[in-house]
């Protein structure tokens, strides 16, 4: 017990971190899997949510709800705006899409720094959960426990939407066969708008709720983008479960891994990616390749 004990807190942090990444990465999976768009501004949409949370939060639940509404609204609008900007780029021109969304990320990040300053902003969580909770003799941040519960509920809800609803069925079909959506007679522009807005909403939700975990700052967007990319690479596009598993693994590597072996964490991410991709190189990755 003594040998496990010091790692209980990092491990729990890893779960919180992983669930946070799961929500962000789901948005990336959505835009990538359904619309075939690699949105390099996805981390910026998270940062918008996080900045809104930092600005509006004052320690009350009302402020948090307000921040959630405003942050999700702003990030959704951001996603929709991106979709409008991408309208002129032909579907399948990945290079131009990447350059455009990178430009948006760069300019957007710079605007955020102009508006909020170059410092990492503190975020106040509601007072009732802003205190340590006793967990097997350890003090643990109350908000993180609440976050774990809320994010787990979000994951369940996403799972239900993808597997039980008509929209979810369309999403699964489109990931399996990108041409299928066109066959259904749904206009590609509307699909892109819906997908990018929804993916923005997910990033915004993660940004507002996750701001106390990955806080708003100049490097937030890049960190979140990278980690959620790794999650997508590890989890593939196949299922909500795969993404969740990958997100939890990355979360643990980033927290427990760093606690156990500080220098090895990035190499661990590499190794995990290499192992997973090598294992699926012949089977699953074919389903990924658009052609």
């Amino acid at each position: 017990m003594d040998r496990v004990d010091p790692y209980l807190i990092p491990a729990l942090d890893g779960v919180a971190y992983g669930l946070l990444l799961f929500v962000v990465a789901s948005g990336l999976v959505l835009s990538f899997g359904v619309a075939g768009i690699l949105n390099l501004a996805h981390g910026t949409l998270y940062a918008i949510g996080a900045y809104v949370a930092a600005t509006l939060s004052d320690g009350s639940w009302l402020a948090l709800l307000l921040a959630l509404a405003a942050g999700v609204g702003a990030a959704t609008a951001g996603g929709a705006a991106l979709s409008g900007m991408l309208a002129a780029v032909p579907r399948g021109d990945h290079l131009t899409q990447a350059l455009l969304t990178f430009g948006v990320a760069l300019a957007g990040g710079s605007l955020l720094v102009m508006a909020f300053g170059a410092e990492n902003l503190p975020v106040r969580v509601p007072a009732t959960v802003d205190r340590p909770v006793d967990l097997a003799g350890h003090a643990y941040a109350g908000y993180r426990l609440v976050f774990i519960v809320v994010a787990a509920a979000l994951a369940l809800a996403l799972h239900a939407v993808v597997n039980r609803t008509r929209a979810g069925m369309l999403v699964r079909a489109a990931v399996d066969d990108p041409d299928m959506v066109a066959c259904l007679g749904v206009s590609p522009a509307r699909v892109r708008l819906g997908v990018l807005a929804a993916s923005g909403a997910l990033a915004g939700t993660a940004g507002v709720l996750g701001a106390p975990i990955i806080g708003p700052g100049p490097s937030t967007a890049a960190t979140v983008l990278l980690l959620s990319l790794v999650v997508v690479v590890l989890g593939g596009l196949g299922s909500v479960g795969g993404t969740l598993l990958a997100a939890l693994a990355v979360g643990e590597i980033q927290t427990l891994g760093v606690a156990l072996a500080p220098t090895a964490a990035p190499f661990l991410l590499f190794a995990a990616m290499a192992a997973v991709l090598a294992a699926r190189s012949h089977g699953l990755i074919r389903r990924w390749s658009p052609a």
Binding site: F32, G36, I37, L38, L40, M85, A88, V89, P90, D93, H94, L95, T96, Q97, A98, L99, L100, F102, G103, V104, A105, L106, A107, G108, G109, S110, L111, M114, A222, L226, L229, V230, V232, V233, P262, T263, A265, P266, F267, L269, F270, M273, A274, L277, A278, S281, H282, I285, R286, W288, S289, P290, A291
Partner: protein, 301 residues
């Protein structure tokens, strides 16, 4: 386009006598990044594997060179080998994927390499970087490259030689096989060509070129930090390659020079607003390029 090459070469050789040392050093860095861009063009334009991750073998080569010999040739070879080895290790991540998936995976590889570089302090000096690398001598018995002009000319010579080799190879069967894979890989397979093996070779060769450029970075800049290999550099390279007409390795260098010049000009224009203007440049380029690229593609082939 061909008539441009001779005067451009002449200007490149004459430049260090016409410009001040600071500009010369800047030009040398443009050459170095241009060589990395050539490796990006090899993958993105010729082989059809769009990449944002060539900064990773570039970094691997640079750190290897920083810890290697003070003889230029040895340093270059070490860096090229390490770059190639890095690519070989990451080959299974890349060559089975296509299109935008490659973009995503290579981006993750590049970013992880930077993260690794900032953590592995004993080798990289962490985010503080490595400084004080001695200037190499190109070959045993030759003088040490102790001026900006000498270092620039050294970089120019190496970049020129590497480019000539790459262009000659791409004009031959190797280039045709790679373009065949890009055009229609099912047809390549139907003709008995092992497509993934070709792509793996191209990826490893591109890693060697980027690694070699890493050695030149150490020589010309005499300072290394993880910021030299960041995501923004990878995106700048990709933009340079697209501007240069994705299929052309020589165009990649020209495109990169244009992009870097634009970046420096923009950040001088409105101090502190550089990233904003650069972002705007990317957006404008994304809208303007498809037309431009169409014209260039017909000019190149």
């Amino acid at each position: 386009m061909k008539w441009l090459i001779a005067p451009a070469l002449l200007a490149a050789v004459a430049a260090p006598w016409l410009a001040d040392p600071y500009t010369t050093a800047t030009l040398a860095r443009i050459l170095v990044l241009g060589l990395v861009a050539a490796s990006v063009a090899l993958l993105t334009g010729v082989a059809g594997l769009p990449t944002l991750g060539q900064t990773a073998p570039f970094a691997a080569g640079a750190y290897a060179a920083a810890h290697s010999s003070s003889v230029g040739v040895v340093q270059l070879l070490t860096a090229a080998c390490v770059g190639a080895a890095f690519a070989a290790l990451t080959t299974p991540l890349v060559v089975y994927a296509r299109g935008v998936v490659v973009l995503m995976i290579t981006l993750a590889i590049g970013e992880l390499a930077v993260t690794a570089a900032s953590r592995w302090r004993s080798v990289t000096g962490g985010t503080d970087g490595l400084a004080g690398m001695a200037s190499p001598r190109p070959l045993w018995g030759l003088p040490v490259l102790d001026t900006d002009r000498a270092r620039y000319l050294y970089a120019l010579a190496v970049v020129g030689i590497v480019l000539c080799v790459v262009v000659l190879l791409l004009r031959g069967p190797a280039g045709m096989y790679l373009r065949g894979c890009r055009d229609d890989e099912a047809r390549m397979r139907a003709s008995g060509h092992p497509v993934n093996a070709y792509l793996a070779i191209a990826y490893i060769a591109a890693g060697a070129i980027a690694g070699l450029a890493g050695s030149l970075l150490v020589t010309t800049q005499q300072y290394l930090s993880p910021a030299d290999f960041g995501f923004d550099i990878a995106a700048l390279l990709l933009l340079g390659v697209v501007i240069g007409g994705a299929g052309s390795v020589v165009g990649a260098i020209a495109g990169t020079a244009v992009v870097l010049a634009a970046r420096d000009w923009l950040s001088g224009l409105l101090p502190g607003r550089g990233p904003l203007l650069l972002g705007a440049l990317f957006i404008v380029a994304a809208y303007a390029l498809p037309r431009l690229r169409f014209r260039l593609r017909s000019a190149v082939t």
